[in-house]
Structure formats: structure tokens, C-alpha cells
């Protein structure tokens, strides 16, 4: 080899590089030197806690986020949110690097092995089912806001002891908008088509199958989100992307249902599959802005302020520039360290601020950690992350 292209070949090296840049940027202190938030020392009822999990998806690499050259893309994560939270610099995803199956693995706490491209319920129980069954919470207390294709089954598992009876409500904003446009007989449906599209690898938004399907979505719009079709369509006209639509739905859900456990999956950045670096980076910058907007929503909503834990993590990375088996940022097909190693940022009243945790954790560790903190059992194969208790 005429040039050395072998840097960042291991998760440890990736983490160390990310950590070094962050230390230089925010001057973060060590874990041991930081006091816990005073708020966390008060005895809060765990069931009164709110939990929001955001997947910074689909697929973001270090180079475009927390590595030196990527930091310009995430000013909000870096300068607004990170100082308020605990940052894990080495989150390993040892499973299948497909968006649906990887996200399902995060919410079941077990590496799922099913076909990424088939819409199916995960075989292992989800966080939502553990939570609702363990704490006897109502159906309206857990929600997932997700991109359309495949994700419609992520709210509950096919496990015989759990299932839809304990599952989360799943809102697919794009389907909701398609139903609303159909009902509204909107003449500008084409103008809003950019909010309906999926990624390059899932290009075709699945048309609603039936009138009943549309009715169900319209019913959800009015009963769960308290939105008229007209208002929803009107709002959609002001939005630029599917991720913005998801944040708008999240805001509406927080106002109307104030659920205690929510998951939001961002997905715009998967446009990277088209090979357009600029569109990929634009989507990362948008996701960065939307994460800050979400945290601001939490802080300004009395139902959520000072009682909400927000977890932000990519579902996985993307292939390394120097991996000959891939084509850099475009895909996540090689299974290399760069695609498997990501980060997590956790913010909440019980968590340390401005703190970096270096030791490796896995993406499946979050479910047992949330279970342990909120007080319900899980059968996850992940380990509890002690820094988050």
C-alpha cells in the first residue's frame, strides 16, 4: 500500500479519537469528579418519570458527527446538549446493520436476526411491553413515531407472554399525512411528496391499502393527536422533511397524551444511499437541530420538565472511507468497526452533566438500563449501564 489508510480500524481507536476531540472542545471532566444533579437526589416516583429515546438515524458516522471534521454539523448536540448530559463515546452494535432490525434490537435489548426488509413483529419483547406490563401502564402511555416502511410492527413483539396487548401505539407520520391528503383531497399533494418519501433503498412510499386503513389513520389523527385534517395538512406545508414531520407529531403527542415512554426514529440521513454526501450531511444537520428542538420542547412543557430522560443514539454508523469492501459513507454493508461503533448522549435530571464515559457499551444495553432505573423486569441480553442509574 502506497499510503497509510488504516487509521480508525477498531472501536477503541474510534472512541479514543472522538473522546480526544470532545475533551478539546468542551473541556469535559472525568466521571468521578462530577456531582450528580441535586434534582436526582430527591426521591422521585419512578413511574412519574418520562423517557424519550431518539435514534439519530438512519446511520451516522463519526466523521460527520463527533469527530473533529464532523463537529461543524452538530452544533446543537455539541454545545447545547452535551454539556447537559452524559456522553458515551463507544456504543457497539454487534447485530445486523439494517435500519428496522437494528432499531428493533435497540428496543428489545436483544440482537434480532430477522429479515430487515420484511415488516414483522420482533420475536423478543419490546421495551414498551416490558414497561406497560411491569408497571401496569395504559396503552396511551407508550408511543413510537417512526418512518413508514417496515417500522409499523415495532410497537410490540410476537412473544407469547407479551404482544400487542402490552405494546406501544405506533404513529407513522408519512402514512398519516398520506391519509390526510387523501381525505382533504389536497390539490398540493405533489408539493408535499417530499415529506412522504422514504430512503433510496426504500424509495416508494407504500400506498394505503384500503379505505379502512385510511380511516384508522384519520381516527388516530383526531383521537390521539387532536388534530383536524385541515390543520395537519396546513402544518405539513411548512415543513421541509420527513424528520420535521416526525418532530411535529411528537410535539402534538406530548401535548395531547403526555406519554411516559416514547421512541422517535429519525431517518432523513439515509439519503446517503444515493451517494449524495451533501444531502446526507444536510440531514445530519437537520437531525441535530431537531434533537435540540425536542429537548427544548421537554424543558418548556410542565408535564416533561425536570422529569424526562432523553437518550439520543444512532442506530449504527456507516462504512469507513478506507474500507475496500464498501463505498464510504454511502452504505452500511461491510460490518466494519466504523459502521458498528457509535455514541449515545443521555440527558435527564438524574444524570451527570458534561461527562464522557469511555468504556464500551452496546446498543442493546439501553433496555435493561431503563428497566432497572424505572423499576421493571426485562429479559434483555444486554447489560445495565451503571452510569445511567
Amino acid at each position: 500500500m502506497p499510503h497509510s489508510l488504516g487509521h480508525l480500524s477498531s472501536p477503541r481507536a474510534i472512541s479514543a479519537t472522538r473522546r480526544d476531540f470532545l475533551r478539546g472542545t468542551i473541556g469535559a471532566l472525568s466521571m468521578a469528579s462530577m456531582p450528580r444533579s441535586l434534582t436526582a437526589q430527591t426521591s422521585l416516583l419512578r413511574t412519574a418519570q418520562k423517557t424519550i429515546l431518539v435514534t439519530f438515524g438512519g446511520g451516522a458516522r463519526d466523521e460527520e458527527t463527533f469527530a473533529e471534521e464532523g463537529q461543524e454539523n452538530i452544533p446543537n448536540l455539541l454545545h447545547t446538549l452535551l454539556p447537559q448530559g452524559t456522553f458515551f463515546s463507544q456504543v457497539i452494535n454487534a447485530g445486523i446493520l439494517g435500519h428496522y432490525v437494528a432499531t428493533a434490537s435497540i428496543v428489545t435489548g436483544s440482537y434480532e436476526r430477522f429479515d430487515n426488509f420484511i415488516a414483522q413483529a420482533p420475536p423478543n419483547p419490546t421495551l414498551f411491553e416490558y414497561y406497560r406490563k411491569g408497571l401496569r401502564r395504559p396503552a396511551t402511555d407508550t408511543w413510537v413515531i417512526a418512518p413508514s416502511n417496515g417500522f409499523q410492527r415495532i410497537g410490540s413483539s410476537s412473544h407469547k407472554n407479551f404482544g400487542p396487548e402490552y405494546g406501544a401505539g405506533v404513529i407513522l407520520p408519512k402514512r398519516l399525512l398520506a391519509a390526510a391528503l387523501h381525505d382533504n383531497k389536497a390539490t398540493d399533494g405533489e408539493a408535499l411528496s417530499h415529506l412522504l418519501q422514504d430512503s433510496y433503498e426504500m424509495p416508494e412510499y407504500q400506498p394505503l391499502q384500503s379505505g379502512m386503513d385510511r380511516e384508522l389513520h384519520l381516527d388516530m389523527l383526531e383521537s390521539s393527536l387532536r388534530l383536524s385534517v385541515q390543520d395537519f395538512v396546513q402544518k405539513a406545508r411548512s415543513l421541509d422533511s420527513a424528520d420535521e414531520l416526525s418532530i411535529y407529531i411528537t410535539r402534538q403527542l406530548m401535548k395531547q397524551q403526555a406519554p411516559s415512554l416514547m421512541m422517535l426514529t429519525l431517518h432523513d440521513m439515509d439519503i446517503a444511499h444515493s451517494g449524495s454526501y451533501s444531502l446526507y450531511v444536510d440531514a445530519i444537520q437537520r437531525a441535530d437541530r431537531l434533537c435540540a428542538e425536542l429537548w427544548n420542547m421537554v424543558q418548556t412543557d410542565p408535564e416533561y420538565k425536570d422529569r424526562t430522560t432523553l437518550y439520543i443514539m444512532p442506530d449504527f454508523g456507516r462504512d469507513a472511507d478506507n474500507d475496500p469492501a464498501g463505498n464510504g459513507f454511502q452504505h452500511h454493508r461491510t460490518g466494519g468497526a466504523m459502521a458498528r461503533t457509535t455514541w449515545m448522549l443521555a440527558l435527564g435530571p438524574h444524570l451527570r452533566q458534561n461527562t464522557i464515559v469511555d468504556h464500551p457499551i452496546e446498543s442493546i444495553d439501553l433496555v435493561p438500563t431503563i428497566g432497572s432505573y424505572l423499576g421493571f423486569e426485562t429479559a434483555s441480553t444486554g447489560k445495565v449501564i451503571r452510569e445511567l442509574l
Partner: protein, 403 residues
């Protein structure tokens, strides 16, 4: 079926040259683990329409593996042989249809949690193949940035770390300098498919007019192929409850041959017919974005044809639209020069990485120039990495000093 059951007659359905090659290397093929054997067969099957450099590489690789001492080979192959392959996969006809088998195998390796072991095992096996002696000097030009607003401090940042960044280039003779450098270099490389010019728009007469011995290909020139591939993609994208759109697209494109898309209307050369077709059937992005086309074509040329002279010209891609619209219409309604410039900067960086893989040490001159602007980078043996040159000079002078 497993590889140890292969016999000479297993390849009766292969084209003549492929059959000869397979029989010649039968003892190797019989010993290869099932997880890698079909990849070799796929390359062998396509020998008739492969570039000369591909044929040489495959022969070099197979000869080297065949000559490995049995103990050494066994040590390298055993981790791959230890990977489990399901009976249903084994029952597929991977000898006659390796191209259909490989995606199935890949999915299985992922779902069975064996992809990491496969990566490690395959890397170790191929690392045992010694490098070929290569004294070829390779020259690459990348032109990018048409119509974009460019700031000096933010241009070509990744490539600048690899060589000399020019901030005050004189551009009056730029095209002429590039053409002359290519012409001179290409004249020393008479082998077929050794010299290439790829354009994201239309072929520039100003550049190509005087280039003999160079294959020129453009996004516009391949538009018929592209439109036909897009038509096939459109027919496969609707997600159903039982199968995914992405897999359907992939399967449909994998099964698309140069005959299906009428590549013979573009060229009578069967090597190019297959190459041009696969630029659109084995990729994501070139079907809709010219920037992706140039990057991917450069990558595939470097990997397969191993050119000695290469000119890649990025042009503005269409503006981002709804994916369905872009699939439905090959004709763009507007262009995005600014986004295209950022795409091309990354594409040029990837082109440099790819070329660095195949070039012998000290035998690559790589230049990227922002069209009609005084900004460029030269990476190569004579260009100290991370250096800035603010002295006004022409491209010819820059190449003379740092190329």
C-alpha cells in the same frame, strides 16, 4: 453441492475461455470454502467480458492461492470452511448462477451472526496473495465545481491533507494544460482500456477532441441505459407485506443483463456493454445523480480496468426531488451546483483512495481542480502532504513542480 464435488464437466455451461480457466484451476476451486468459491466462479464466468486487468488479477490471485503450501492454505481457509452454510443455500445452483447465490449467502452470513468471521477470514486469505510488481505511473485528473460558489478556506479539505493545496492557480490555460498532460501520458499507455475520460454531463470536445487512445464516456451518453434501468427499478419498488422494496430492486437489477437494456445501441464492444450496464445495475445513486455516476464510474474503473490515465469531470447533478419523481423521470427539472460541489469533493477524495490502492508507491499523480477557480490539490510523490502553495502558476507548472 459443495466445492469438493466440482469436476471439469461442472463448467460445461460456461463460455469457452471461462471453462478453460475453471478447469485449469479446478484443484483450487475444489479446495475453496463454499463461502468464497462462488465469488471466484462469478469472476470466472464473466471472463469473456472482463477488462484485461481484471483477467490478469484473477489469474494472479488464483495462481498464488493454488501455489500456497498445503499447510499454509489450510490454516488460511479453515476459518472460512468452519462457517456454517444452511442446507437450503447449499442446494442452490451456485455453480451456474453464482451471481444469484452471493446475495443470498451474504444475507445468511448477516442473519446467522457470521459476517465478522467471514470478513476476517476473507481478508486473511486474500492478504496471502503477494502484490504484483508494478512500475506503471498513473495520472488522475478530477475536475469539479461547475457553477458553485467556492470559499478558499473550505475547499477540497480532505484532499488537501494528502498533498499540496494551490490557492492561486492561473486558470487561463487550465483545460489546455490538462488535455496536454493527459495526451502525453496516454500516449505512453497503448494497452486497451488504459486511458479514460468520464464526464458527468456531455463529452467536452475541447478535452476529448484531441485525445486518441482514450475511452470517453458520459452521463448523457449513457442516458438510454439509465432510463431503461430506471424503468425496471420503478416496477420493483412497492413494498408488500411479505418482501421489501430494496431487495426486490436489487434482485431485479442483478438479473438485468446488458441485453435487457439495449447496451449494444451504445457500443459494439461486449466488454463495455457489460461495464456500462453494471454501472447502473450494481450501484445505488448513478441512476439519479450524475455526481454519484462519476464517483462510482471512477471507482469501478480503478477497481476493474486499473487505468493508467483517468480524467473524471463532475458536473451539477439534478436538485433533490421526491424519489418517485426522480425514478419516474430521467430528465431533471433543476440543478444543484452547490450540493453537487460538496458531493464531488467527497467523490474526488474517494477516487484518490481507490487509486492509491492500486498504484505502486510513488507512482501516482493525482490532481483535483475546481473549474474556473484558482483552487486545486496535487497528491503524489512530489507533493508534500498538508502543504499550501500560494504562488501563482499554471496547471502545467504545478505539475512540473509537484507532480
Amino acid at each position: 453441492m459443495t466445492p469438493d464435488q466440482l469436476v471439469a464437466s461442472s463448467f460445461n455451461g460456461y463460455p469457452a475461455a471461462a471453462r478453460r480457466f475453471a478447469v485449469e484451476h479446478l484443484s483450487l476451486l475444489q479446495r475453496l470454502p463454499l463461502v468464497v468459491c462462488p465469488s471466484f466462479l462469478q469472476q470466472i464466468q464473466n471472463l469473456d467480458t472482463s477488462f484485461p486487468a481484471e483477467k490478469e488479477s484473477l489469474r494472479w490471485q488464483c495462481d498464488a492461492l493454488q501455489k500456497l503450501a498445503p499447510e499454509r492454505y489450510s490454516a488460511l481457509a479453515s476459518p472460512l470452511a468452519a462457517l456454517s452454510v444452511s442446507p437450503s443455500l447449499q442446494s442452490l445452483d451456485w455453480v451456474q448462477s453464482p451471481a444469484s447465490f452471493i446475495p443470498e449467502l451474504t444475507a445468511y452470513l448477516w442473519s446467522s451472526g457470521q459476517i465478522n468471521q467471514f470478513r476476517l477470514g476473507a481478508s486473511a486469505l486474500f492478504a496471502s496473495v503477494p502484490s504484483r510488481e508494478d512500475t506503471t505511473h498513473r495520472l488522475v485528473f478530477v475536475m469539479l465545481g461547475q457553477g458553485a460558489q467556492v470559499e478558499s478556506g473550505k475547499v477540497l479539505r480532505k484532499l488537501s491533507k494528502q498533498g499540496v493545496f494551490f490557492s492561486s492557480l492561473k486558470t487561463a490555460t487550465a483545460l489546455q494544460d490538462i488535455r496536454q498532460a493527459i495526451e502525453s501520458h496516454a500516449s505512453k499507455a497503448s494497452a486497451p482500456y488504459a486511458n479514460w475520460y468520464v464526464d458527468g454531463g456531455v463529452i467536452s470536445d475541447e478535452i476529448a477532441g484531441k485525445l486518441s487512445n482514450t475511452t470517453a464516456v458520459s452521463y448523457t451518453g449513457l442516458s438510454k441505459l439509465r432510463e431503461r434501468v430506471l424503468e425496471r427499478m420503478q416496477g420493483a419498488v412497492t413494498l408488500t407485506s411479505s418482501s421489501g422494496g430494496a431487495e426486490q430492486i436489487h434482485t431485479r437489477l442483478t438479473n438485468t443483463s446488458w441485453r435487457d437494456v439495449g447496451a449494444s445501441e451504445i457500443t459494439s464492444d461486449p466488454v463495455l456493454q457489460r461495464f456500462y450496464t453494471e454501472l447502473f445495475t450494481e450501484s445505488s445513486g448513478p441512476q439519479i445523480f450524475s455526481t454519484s455516476f462519476v464517483q462510482w464510474t471512477g471507482r469501478e474503473l480503478i477497481r476493474r480496468a486499473q487505468p493508467q490515465t483517468l480524467l473524471l469531470r463532475y458536473t451539477p447533478r439534478q436538485s433533490h426531488r421526491d424519489m418517485r419523481e426522480m425514478f419516474a423521470s430521467a430528465t431533471p427539472s433543476s440543478f444543484d451546483p452547490q450540493g453537487s460541489f460538496r458531493d464531488a469533493e467527497m467523490g474526488a477524495y474517494y477516487n484518490w483512495i481507490e487509486m492509491s490502492r492500486i498504484a505502486a508507491p510513488g507512482k501516482l499523480t493525482f490532481m483535483a481542480w475546481v473549474e474556473n477557480k484558482p483552487f486545486a490539490v496535487i497528491a503524489g510523490a512530489g507533493a508534500p502532504a498538508g502543504t499550501i502553495c500560494a504562488t501563482p502558476m499554471s496547471i502545467a507548472e504545478a505539475l512540473q513542480n509537484f507532480g
